[in-house]
């Protein structure tokens, strides 16, 4: 199985080469290359599924290597699970790319890096030594960087790519140091040796949180994500949001749960609080962002926060010796990772379809798309329901498991955690509610109501391959939503591998329900009950009503104004929430410029929103670097005597240090 996966991964490199050739041959050849990666991804997903079916650990030691002369690849349930996540998304997105690439200018800028990106994404879970892991990681980073730069004329894309590159390099550096610390005095860097070392070092934990967290978009390391995801082409955004952030979480699980040794319980507390903060910040910005893809990117940050919170909870339980609850929380994280990968890539593909059809990502320019592109509208509705975490869609299962684990948190022995848990649970509950509002706004403003621009009115349905890809993704969202136990069952071997047999998730197969403690979530029954209720209400409304049904214009508040500007806008729909959180969460400034009496100019209402964290952290760091650089440049301007004096002072200080230290 591992050999097959490794060979399929090499296939992506072949496809990248073919992609170079295909560009000369025209659109049909590029479509074939995209189709090729669809098939490869599907084959990989099938192999990962088979590996999860019969869990076993395989290892392959290749005599070729990046630095040490050999490469270790390994397949265990954890890597198989994340390979499944990556390749499910990869297959669907490649299918989408078949049509998305058609007729686009400069296909070379996307086609080749896209295959390299898939190669990196597939190699990271397979890598079982520090060197190949880091090389695969960098492959992934650099290929996605090239994809963000797919339109180099766009200054926003250039800025996003630059910030992304800086953060990716910083993150990779942190991981490099983390691996070095874990290896300690050993000069063996394969995972088996690191695992035997069991360093259990807090520094490694913090470095991993920084390195992988910056890739995943953990607040406050999220700055690149809302810039880069919208700048990339839509199918790439789907892959970055759906797969790459998950690979970052894979790195957290692999390094913290597996390699670093027994964690202390309060490390989990750190991750839990970080996750809750991330979820809140993400969802708040998703609520007010008017760019569709940026809003989706913020929503990705929110979901990463939820998964990170579940991971933190699992660490806290594991550190306190509560294996069953730790398993529950880890299952929540893994289940939500798979589900989020699906529905977020679906949402990005939907946003891409909208962009393709209308040429705009700005919600204020959209509206009424549900009538002109009905199929896209339906699949986006599925995505929005999943984003809102409504049962029986797949967004709900993971969050339900997380809340069960949070409720189980009263069993924790630490009073500190007991104090934190209700606060965190409240934050997550608030997040869930706000996420529903954000999803409602995204779908409602874009697909309902009347078109806000001529482009939106003239929109058309997108190419069949794109619709097919979205339909497959929507079907999987429904399927995984209706049978959450199947997903939890897939995650089971990985959970057992990380936490031991007592942590196996409780899955009741007869109704494909999830069971945690005394509660159970039976999605099928819930869905049937919902359908039955809807049918009863419909029938009752039809039969029992004394008046016959009649069609009439919608109520317009007594202002029969036909202009679409009288509708709710994306900004006005969430204005109350923005006002509530405006001061604390974002630096929102509203001002109204009223003209002088008698002046016929219109009054202007302006709204400026800024990310407090960007101003508070990133710009500060930038200023700090600027300051240090200016001061350091002054050193160059010293006199000859000044230089000598520096040298002399350094020498004397070092000598004095020797004297004192002895």
């Amino acid at each position: 199985m591992l050999t097959g996966l490794a060979l399929a991964d090499l296939g992506f490199l072949v496809l990248a080469g073919l992609g170079l050739a295909a560009i000369r041959l025209g659109a049909r050849a590029t479509a074939i290359v995209c189709l090729g990666s669809t098939i490869l991804c599907a084959a990989n997903a099938a192999m990962a599924l088979a590996a999860l079916w019969t869990p076993a650990a395989e290892q392959l030691r290749l005599p070729i290597g990046f630095a040490l002369g050999w490469t270790v690849l390994a397949l265990d349930p954890l890597s198989a699970y994340f390979l499944l996540v990556v390749n499910l998304v990869g297959a669907i997105v490649s299918l989408y790319a078949v049509a998305h690439e058609h007729g686009e200018a400069q296909p070379a800028r996307r086609l080749v890096p896209f295959q390299l990106f898939l190669f990196g994404l597939n190699l990271v879970p397979l890598a079982a030594d520090a060197f190949s892991f880091l090389v695969a990681w960098e492959f992934m980073s650099l290929a996605s960087w090239a994809l963000i730069l797919a339109r180099p004329d766009d200054p926003a894309a250039r800025r996003a790519a630059q910030i992304y590159l800086v953060m990716a390099v910083a993150g990779a550096l942190a991981l490099l140091v983390a691996f070095g610390l874990m290896a300690g005095g050993l000069d063996r860097y394969d995972f088996a040796a690191l695992r035997a070392q069991r360093a259990g070092s807090l520094v490694v934990f913090v470095l991993v949180l920084f390195g992988a967290g910056s890739k995943a978009g953990l607040v406050p390391l999220h700055a690149w994500l809302p810039l880069a995801h919208p700048a990339a082409p839509s199918h790439v955004s789907a892959l970055m949001s759906g797969a790459m952030t998950k690979i970052a979480l894979y790195a957290v699980i692999r390094l913290v749960f597996d390699l670093n040794g027994q964690p202390a319980w309060w490390w989990g507390g750190i991750l839990l609080v970080l996750g809750a903060g991330t979820a809140l910040v993400g969802v708040l910005f998703a609520l007010i962002e008017r760019d569709m893809k940026t809003a989706l990117a913020w929503s990705t940050i929110e979901n990463i926060g939820i998964i990170a919170g579940a991971l933190g909870l699992s660490l806290a339980f594991a550190g306190s010796g509560l294996a069953a609850l730790a398993g529950l929380a880890l299952t929540a994280a893994l289940v939500h990772a798979l589900n989020h990968a699906l529905f977020k890539s679906l949402s990005f593909m939907g946003a891409g379809a909208v962009l393709h059809a209308t040429g705009s990502r700005d919600l204020e320019q959209l509206g009424g798309l549900g009538r002109v592109m009905p199929q896209t509208g339906w699949v986006f509705l599925v995505a929005a329901l999943a984003l809102a975490a409504l049962p029986p869609l797949n967004g709900f299962a993971g969050e339900w498991l997380l809340f069960q684990a949070l409720i189980g948190g009263i069993a924790l022995p630490s009073p500190m955690l007991k104090f934190i848990l209700p606060v965190v649970a409240g934050a997550f509950a608030l997040t869930a509610a706000l996420a529903a509002a954000a999803a409602c706004r995204l779908y409602g403003i874009a697909f309902l109501g009347r078109p806000r621009s001529p482009a939106a009115a003239a929109a058309h349905e997108v190419a069949p391959a794109m619709r097919l890809a979205m339909a497959v993704a929507a079907g999987l969202c429904l399927l995984f939503g209706l049978f959450p136990a199947a997903v939890a069952g897939l995650a089971g071997p990985a959970v057992v591998q990380m936490l031991g047999p007592p942590a196996a998730p409780v899955v009741a197969l007869p109704f494909a329900s999830l069971v945690a403690g005394n509660t159970a979530y039976v999605a099928t029954a819930l869905a049937l009950a919902g359908l039955a209720l809807a049918a009863i209400v419909l029938m009752a409304a039809g039969r029992l009503s004394p008046m016959p049904a009649r069609r009439a214009p919608a109520w317009d508040c007594g202002f029969p104004d036909i202009r679409p500007a009288t509708q709710y806008t994306a900004a006005s729909l969430t204005q109350p929430l923005r006002r509530v959180f405006g001061r604390t969460a974002f630096v929102a400034r509203e001002s109204v410029a009223m003209p002088e009496p008698g002046d016929m100019a219109p009054a202007r209402h302006t709204l400026a929103v800024a990310d407090r964290l960007w101003q508070g952290i990133y710009l500060r760091i930038d200023q700090g670097i600027e300051l240090v650089a200016t001061q350091a440049a002054r050193l160059q301007q010293l006199t000859i005597r000044g230089h000598l004096m520096l040298m002399f002072a350094a020498l004397v200080i070092l000598l004095a240090a020797v004297v004192v230290s002895r």
Binding site: I640, F648, V652, L655
Partner: protein, 220 residues
Amino acid sequence: MAGLAYDVAHLLAGTTLLMSFALLYQRRLSAVVKVFAIQGLVIALAAAWQAHVQAATHLYLTAAIAFGLKTVVIPVALNRIIRRLGIHRTIETALGIAPTMLAGVALVALTILLVLPIAAGSALLTREIIAIALAVVLLGLLMMITRRNAVTQVIGFMSLENGLILAAVGVQGMPLVVEMSVAFSVLVAFLIFGVFFFQIRERFDSLELHYLEDVRDRGP
């Protein structure tokens, strides 16, 4: 004999250190050159004495080189430069004489604190000499940074080299190569600085380094 060898070596090393201090408090350029010549003479004597004590004939050569270069050639040449350039013979200090002397004393204390425990295991003959040599090196550096004139900086540099030679001859079995290279590097430095003086003099009519700094501040 061992006691006498030790005492004389110590006396000469101590005199070198004394000359380093003397270099720091001179107010006239010609006096600085004279003190430097005396220091060179002391170094030559120290090398000769070590040659006698260690029965190492090659150290006589070192002594001859030190005497020839540091006592005769370089001071004469520097005096000629000073006379030919007609530079005013006062020394401009960046740090006053008294604070400089205090800093020098502190440096000597630092080196003694540093070296004596480290060299505790080595032969009694060498360890104080190493401390004194390091002090001479540091005082040479101190002179380079506390005096503004280029000539005094050159002398500070060469006094620093004297410290190195003192350390080299004090240790048994140091091959001649080291001393040769030290002597030649001093010569090279002297030549370079000589050329340098004339260049500066031609451009600015002075040997004050801040003229150079003004030029650089203007940028390329």
